[in-house]
Symmetry: C2
Subunit: 244 residues, 2 copies
């Protein structure tokens, strides 16, 4: 047996997130079905994170244990041939038998796309949240800067959270604008349930003048979810990179 770390990229529109669910099509179940067809044995894969329904990944990793004798190139090409167009295997490498796709990740980078325009565009809306009113990028960056560092992000998580410890360290967070495309990039050692999407909703509320950046520290301390912005819709969110 050998353990392999597989890197994939997917358009999450058609999927109920990564994680296996009975009675729903998830990225994990589609991959496990393709692996069963390729290897003729039931293989369980372990993802680096759950991702919500409709969220995309430029780079997502999982590990699996398989027989020693599968050449990497054949594995990659075989799996890609069995997967639909919206899931691509981009890398596969052998790792130590105790390496874990989730626990060994030092951090992750997400990118969230906002399409900031009052024109409807079918080629943008699959991968972005449309906001028609002009956004204040300076204010959004002021907010982004305010959450960098080690904080209890309890307020920035939804009730479906499954962890006790809600302290995370954000190492980088900033907003860029290029024409109608506004992007927020965030890197942290880990993310709570819906954390990025609540950060986006709050960045927009700050831009709208509904939340003051000077209040964020207090809201974090009070763990007050209700004082923050909405949970932004999933289709703008991309897992950009997994750091090992």
């Amino acid at each position: 047996m050998k353990r392999m770390l597989i890197t994939i990229s997917y358009d999450g529109t058609a999927y109920h997130g990564w994680q296996f669910q009975p009675n729903a099509i998830t990225v994990q179940s589609v991959i496990e079905n393709a692996l069963f067809e390729l290897l003729n044995e039931k293989v369980t894969v372990v993802g680096t994170s759950r991702t919500d329904a409709g969220v995309h990944a430029k780079e997502f990793t999982f590990h699996l244990d398989c027989a020693d004798n599968i050449p990497k190139a054949a594995f990659l090409r075989g799996l890609n041939g069995l997967l639909p167009y919206d899931i691509a295997v981009t890398d596969a490498k052998e790792i130590a038998p105790d390496f874990h796709a989730r626990y060994n990740a030092l951090g992750k980078t997400y990118c969230y796309n906002i399409y900031n325009s009052n024109k409807k565009d079918p080629f943008k809306l699959r991968f972005a949240w449309q906001i028609e009113r002009p956004l204040d990028i300076d204010k959004m960056n002021e907010f982004a800067k305010s959450i960098v560092g080690k904080h209890d992000f309890y307020a920035f998580s939804s009730s479906g959270r499954t962890v006790e410890n809600t302290v995370r360290t954000v190492s980088e967070c900033y907003v860029t604008k290029n024409g109608d495309d506004v992007k927020l990039y965030i890197t942290a050692d880990g993310f709570l349930y819906n954390m990025v999407r609540i950060i986006i909703g709050t960045a927009v509320a700050v831009s709208d003048g509904k939340i003051n950046v000077s209040d964020i520290e207090d809201i974090l301390k009070k763990r007050d979810r209700a004082a923050l912005g909405m949970t932004a819709p999933p289709q703008g969110l991309f897992l950009e990179k997994v750091h090992y």
Copy 2:
């Protein structure tokens, strides 16, 4: 009554082309249903062309006759609100009562996207034809140039064609390459059934050395469909502009 020319943009992946078909979802039927909801009357729209199943449009036009008293802005916003994310109304203007979306078009520009890479990419494949082997852009441009002008394009059409006259004038045809993205742009006074997709298949066959550009004139004269390349898949094709 007034006649209006509506401009839309759509991601055609989910649709069986523009034209109404019983028992299939087409762009036309979705728009007519939205118009029925908006105007509370059955309105028939006339498109500038059919487009095949899975083909996209950056700009597609149709005309319709409706009551005088609908303000343009309300019409636009109302219709966009009723349409799914993958169809957008981008313009609406009043036209002369005898103007026709199809017959008044002087020409159209199509663009075909090829993703020229051996890497699978879920964010490319919805809107491009993947070709793994390197393409010879110079050869493709030599072929593109050879079809510019007035020719009988019978050989570049599929048996489903519905017209008698197969002579068309191509005013411009060229290929560009930007990284992995290869695009063929073509403008003509009209297009036959599958004409652009057979032109693309042939451009690729020329790149592969399977067809010589010097033979194209002869193939056109002999109306020999079998001597040309395959019909390229629909998902790379975009109606780019309708010229009036």
